[in-house]
């Protein structure tokens, strides 16, 4: 059984608790152990970089150091946490000066980060480490006929330039296929949801959410699947506000990919956190059927 150091991030504590629950259930189902990093702290989000990048690196490095101490690669389910952690780890590995300074701060918590671990997004664990074949095998109730818009968002692929293909990744689509659902051709799959703007520039953020929802509906999607708590919140919680602002009547469920996986694996919906959403997912659940 492979083991990872799991860094849930602040959102998954409450706002996106269902992501956390479904992540735990699905990883467990495929025989992967997620050991939550003890006493982890916030990754600094994007806002920390506005004030002091060195401090932001320090925050992230504390989590990295604890994961390293445990001896496992770090896994983040939130795309923003993932991006921050991935790049901090990369910069610390590349820049000795920086890593000396950050480690000087970490001393205060009796920690040290030497850069010996990798940072992965939760989806990478499923796609690359567990493998789509394995997921297919564990799928007992394939979601045949369910049209899923795989919404990558930004930070799961960007600005990671050495990624297989920043402008045309296919792994999310493949994952959706592996649980028997149909990935729809979703033109906006890599566009920004305005996540970090929802508070500071509401109008801009709601416009982006509207465009995304419109495109998903135009491509006949039954559900938008996300891999990030900020995207989920923006697209779902603010759907109502979009409808009011733009006189639309969107009502499309936004689910975590782990929730869809869980359904397809026949896991109980309560354990996947289904029920805390604003937009009903009842229709989605009806697709899960054992193959005839």
């Amino acid at each position: 059984m492979s083991t990872y150091s799991y860094f849930p991030g602040c959102s998954l504590e409450k706002m996106a608790l269902s992501y956390h629950q479904s992540a735990m259930q699905t990883t467990n189902a495929v025989g992967v152990e997620m050991k939550e990093i003890e006493d982890w702290n916030c990754c600094g989000a994007t806002t920390y970089f506005h004030v002091d990048e060195l401090l932001a690196y320090t925050l992230v490095a504390r989590n990295l150091a604890m994961a390293e101490k445990a001896g496992h690669d770090l896994v983040a389910p939130c795309s923003a946490c993932y991006k921050n952690t991935y790049f901090t780890s990369k910069y610390l590995k590349e820049d000795k000066d920086l890593s000396d300074h950050i480690n000087y701060a970490l001393e205060q918590d009796n920690l040290k980060y030497s850069g010996s671990i990798e940072v992965k997004h939760l989806m990478e664990v499923f796609v690359n480490d567990v493998g789509l074949e394995e997921i297919k095998e564990r799928t007992t109730k394939p979601l045949a006929g369910l049209r899923v818009a795989p919404y990558y968002g930004c930070q799961i692929v960007r600005p990671k330039k050495d990624h297989e293909d920043v402008e045309n990744p296919r792994f999310f689509e493949e994952l959706v296929s592996s649980i028997g659902a149909d990935p729809v051709d979703f033109a906006y799959r890599l566009r920004c949801c305005g996540g970090s703007l929802i508070i500071t520039s509401r109008e801009a953020a709601l416009t982006l959410v509207r465009n995304l929802l419109q495109n998903a509906v135009d491509s006949d999607a039954d559900v938008i699947a996300t891999a990030c708590p900020l995207c989920q919140t923006n697209l779902e919680v603010y759907q109502m506000q979009v409808n009011q602002e733009f006189d639309t009547n969107f009502s499309i469920p936004i689910m975590y990919f782990t929730q869809l996986m869980g359904i397809a694996m026949g896991l109980p919906k309560k354990k996947l956190g289904i029920g805390s959403e604003f937009i009903s997912t009842d229709k989605i659940l009806t697709y899960a059927k054992e193959p005839a």
Binding site: Y48, H50, E53
Partner: protein
């Protein structure tokens, strides 16, 4: 002897350790602005902002709302044909503006950043309810009601924490932050 740096050099100094090419390699092609999801809300497009920086138009740059609209989606950065880290530039300008207090009193961006940082330094993790008051009063009545309604719904769905989270080793955590910015937080 030292020659006084131009504004463009000041920005370069601010980005001295960034990971892309320097701003003066910009060919003004507009890929960033064509790509930017929020370009229509900005008073200057990202390309134009780089042009203004390279032309030392300090006031225009600092007065611009462009960098506060940047959503950190990194699409411009990965597409830039000159490999300029445009998102990194936006971060730099946000820092510059916060450090120099060069923003208007009703600007939400910097106020939010400050509130957020403060809250993390206090407890180690973010806690949504404390973030709200800082910006919510700047909204119009309708937005305010919408926001309040949304918050109530979140609360009912159990998606907002009631008690702020706190690290166990919060004292160490504060001391750690103090080594990066020694402001006496640890006493």
């Amino acid at each position: 002897m030292a020659t006084r740096p131009t504004f463009s050099e000041e920005v370069a100094n601010l980005m001295h350790s960034s990971h892309g090419n320097p701003l003066n390699t910009c060919i003004q092609c507009g890929t960033c602005s064509g790509t930017c999801p929020v370009a229509e809300f900005m008073d200057h497009t990202p390309r134009c902002l780089i042009g203004l920086i390279n032309a030392n138009q300090k006031e225009d740059v600092l007065d611009s709302n462009t960098y506060w609209f940047c959503a950190s989606c990194f699409h411009c950065t990965v597409r830039c044909p000159s490999e300029i880290d445009i998102s990194g530039l936006m971060y730099s300008l946000k820092r510059y503006s916060i450090w120099k207090h060069h923003y208007s009193d009703d600007a939400i961006g910097p106020v939010f950043s400050e509130t957020f940082v403060k809250s993390i330094l206090r407890s180690g993790r973010s806690y949504e309810p404390v973030l709200a008051p800082s910006y919510i009063f700047s909204y119009g009545v309708r937005e305010f009601l919408n926001e309040a309604h949304t918050a109530t719904n979140l609360m009912l769905k159990g998606r907002i924490p009631v008690i702020p989270p706190k690290l166990k080793r919060i004292e160490n955590f504060k001391k750690m932050a103090d080594r990066i910015i020694p402001m006496g937080g640890a006493k």
